[in-house]
């Protein structure tokens, strides 16, 4: 695995996060990506157990893997889960500027029309709005990463119809 991370390194990292005040931790290096989310940060089921995601190990050429956007489809979630996909190609940002807070965090309740992120294309910041009411289950793309048309960005649990 790229970067020479050992299981013991990861164990150490997990222990550190466990004892820290962070609820979510993400690290990405070439060919390697890790995301740790504390159980306490996930409201209900144990869906977000610490996950180790091999990041496109087969595609050293660049950020965009060879299989098209759907290949990176998130694992099947609960039946009421909905995937919000990128309507354009560009660079994904979770906040409006490097210093500001993300538009949404995992666990946030969101409304239809609420801005979830921006995708930059040709120096234009395109605000991506939620197409439904619900709750953010997972952010699928790391800040600053390139996204394709149709690439899954967030998984959302749909709000029960009123």
């Amino acid at each position: 695995m790229g970067g020479g991370y050992l299981d013991s390194d990861i164990k150490e990292l997990m222990d550190y996060i466990e004892s820290s005040s962070f609820v979510e931790f993400e690290l990405e290096r070439e060919g390697f990506k890790i995301k740790l989310v504390k159980k306490t940060a996930v409201p209900t089921d144990g869906l977000m157990a610490p996950a180790l995601v091999p990041a496109q190990a087969a595609a050293p050429a660049g950020p965009v893997a060879a299989a098209g956007p759907d290949a990176r489809q998130a694992a099947a979630g609960p039946p009421d889960a909905h995937t919000i996909k990128s309507p354009i190609v560009g660079t994904f940002y979770r906040s409006s500027s490097p210093s500001s807070r993300p538009f949404v965090e995992v666990g946030d309740r969101i409304k239809k029309g609420q801005v979830l992120c921006v995708v930059e294309a040709m120096k234009l910041m395109n605000e991506i709005e939620s197409e439904c009411d619900g709750e953010v289950l997972e952010a699928l793309v790391a800040n600053g990463q390139p996204v394709e048309y149709g690439e899954p960005l967030f998984r959302v649990r749909l709000a029960a119809p009123a």
């Binding site: 050429a61 660049g62 965009v64 354009i88 190609v89 294309a121 040709m122 234009l124 390139p146 048309y149």
Partner: protein, 454 residues
């Protein structure tokens, strides 16, 4: 040289550009619409980016999506292929502004040659013959009649914003002018939103002959000979060959010199084609210049041995041409048949899944295609699925190779124009080289005069 090229196209030309990049050691980025996710250009490029849904306007014609794809993959140049954004001066300008090299001529030259009236003026000033016609558009019927009489009937009325044969009317005698004008204006307005028309001399049975130009960034411009493209249906070329049977060495030199003059006048860089009409008396006229690589470039490659896509890339990277005019030799004869997914009789498009796909091979046979067994020809794009090219030491050998190739090429699951191509290759007029733009309509037994290609 470039490190990474993004290919803003699909189908066989995207693959053709990938092959050239591989030979030059350049990385490639494919862009694709969701309809093309399984296509070969996506599989064989080093990287790929989905840029939108199937509609052209949302994907392959979507300038910001193509540029964003180049930015996220860090491509240093874009090859536009043909069609789509290849002749968009605006796209070439956006590339320039984004510091991405557009592999083609400068935006100014694309714009100049795209404006048919300005192109005519420029070429005329350079001393190259153009068809007699009105300078600019005609406003009222009286003025139109005066000019038409001066030009001499038959004349053709064309839409100023034209293309694709719409807004065109052939008028054989004075009494037909007024109805022809109103019909052409209505059609032009419906098709392009502009009713303006102009009048040109109409040639009954001209040949369509075009000259291939290459120009580098040091002012070196060469001509790679001609292509005979008279076999057309509704301005769509069906079969092309090089050299043309109509040209004596002397006429070829004169026409090539005119084509070079056009290119020099505008300081042409990269690959371009000067299209001309040749009448029965051996007079020729500039028609237009295409500022891109053309579908039929392989016939020129097969007789000159020059890889035109690699030349385009090298020129764009600032490399000077490695050959002079006197080094270029055309040897043998080459023919290209365009194989389209369409009904051979009604010409209706025939998209769908190809179940059986067998390609010919052997000496002197080349196939440029992105189709394969089990592939789906989507309904959204061009119907051309393959280009079959043969080369022989002479025209008859190229013809026999094309015949045997067409006879063993099998495409099942969709309909193709293979039967039509087989007919053309056995037609006595074709074999004699007796061609003009009315050839195909005569072969098909269609009534009514063919409209001259433009």
């Amino acid at each position: 040289m470039f490190r990474k090229i993004l290919i803003a196209n699909r189908g066989e030309i995207a693959l053709r550009i990938i092959w050239a990049c591989r030979e030059l050691g350049i990385q490639t980025v494919a862009v694709y619409s969701t309809a093309d996710a399984d296509s070969l250009h996506v599989k064989f490029a080093d990287e790929d980016v989905c840029i939108g849904p199937p509609r052209n306007i949302d994907s392959y014609l979507n300038i910001s999506a193509v540029i964003a794809a180049a930015e996220i993959t860090d491509a240093d140049a874009i090859h536009p292929g043909y069609g789509f954004l290849a002749e968009s001066a605006h796209f070439a300008e956006v590339c320039e502004a984004c510091k991405i090299k557009f592999i083609g001529p400068s935006p100014n030259v694309i714009r100049l040659m795209g404006d048919k009236a300005r192109a005519r003026e420029t070429v005329l000033a350079a001393g190259v013959p153009i068809l007699p016609g009105t300078r600019g558009t005609v406003q009222d019927d009286e003025e139109a009649m005066r000019r038409a009489v001066k030009i001499g009937f038959p004349v053709i009325i064309k839409a100023a914003a034209g293309g694709g044969g719409r807004g065109m009317r052939v008028v054989n005698a004075p009494e037909g002018l007024s109805p022809g004008l109103s019909a052409a204006r209505t059609e032009a307005n419906a098709a392009f939103g502009v009713p303006d028309v102009y009048i040109e001399k109409y040639l009954k049975s001209p040949r369509h002959i075009e000259f291939q130009i290459l120009g580098d960034s040091f002012g070196n411009i060469v001509c790679l000979g001609e292509r005979e493209c008279s076999i057309q249906r509704r301005h769509q070329k069906i079969l092309e060959e090089s050299p043309s049977t109509a040209l004596s060495p002397k006429l070829r030199r004169r026409m090539a010199e005119s084509a070079l003059k056009v290119a020099r006048t505008v300081g042409y860089q990269n690959a371009g084609t000067v299209e001309m009409l040749l009448d029965e008396d051996g007079r020729y006229y500039f028609m237009e210049m295409n500022t891109r690589i053309q579908v039929e470039h392989p016939v020129t490659e097969m007789v000159t041995g020059i890889d035109m896509i690699k030349e385009q890339i090298k020129i764009a990277a600032g490399v000077s041409l490695a050959f002079r005019q006197e080094d270029i030799q055309s040897v043998g004869h080459a023919i290209e048949c365009r194989i389209n997914a369409e009904d051979p009789e009604t010409f209706a498009p025939s998209p769908g899944k190809i179940t059986t796909f067998h390609l010919p091979g052997g000496p002197g046979v080349r196939v440029d295609t992105a189709a394969h067994p089990e592939c789906v020809i989507p309904p959204y794009y061009d119907s051309m699925i393959a280009k079959l090219i043969t080369r022989g030491n002479n025209r008859m050998e190229a013809i026999s190779r094309m015949r045997r190739s067409l006879d063993v090429m099998v495409v099942e699951g969709i309909r193709t124009n293979l039967p039509l191509q087989r007919r053309i290759l056995r037609d006595p007029d074709f074999i004699r080289g007796n061609l003009d733009t009315g050839f195909l309509e005569r072969l098909l037994g269609l009534k009514g005069a063919a409209v001259a290609a433009s």
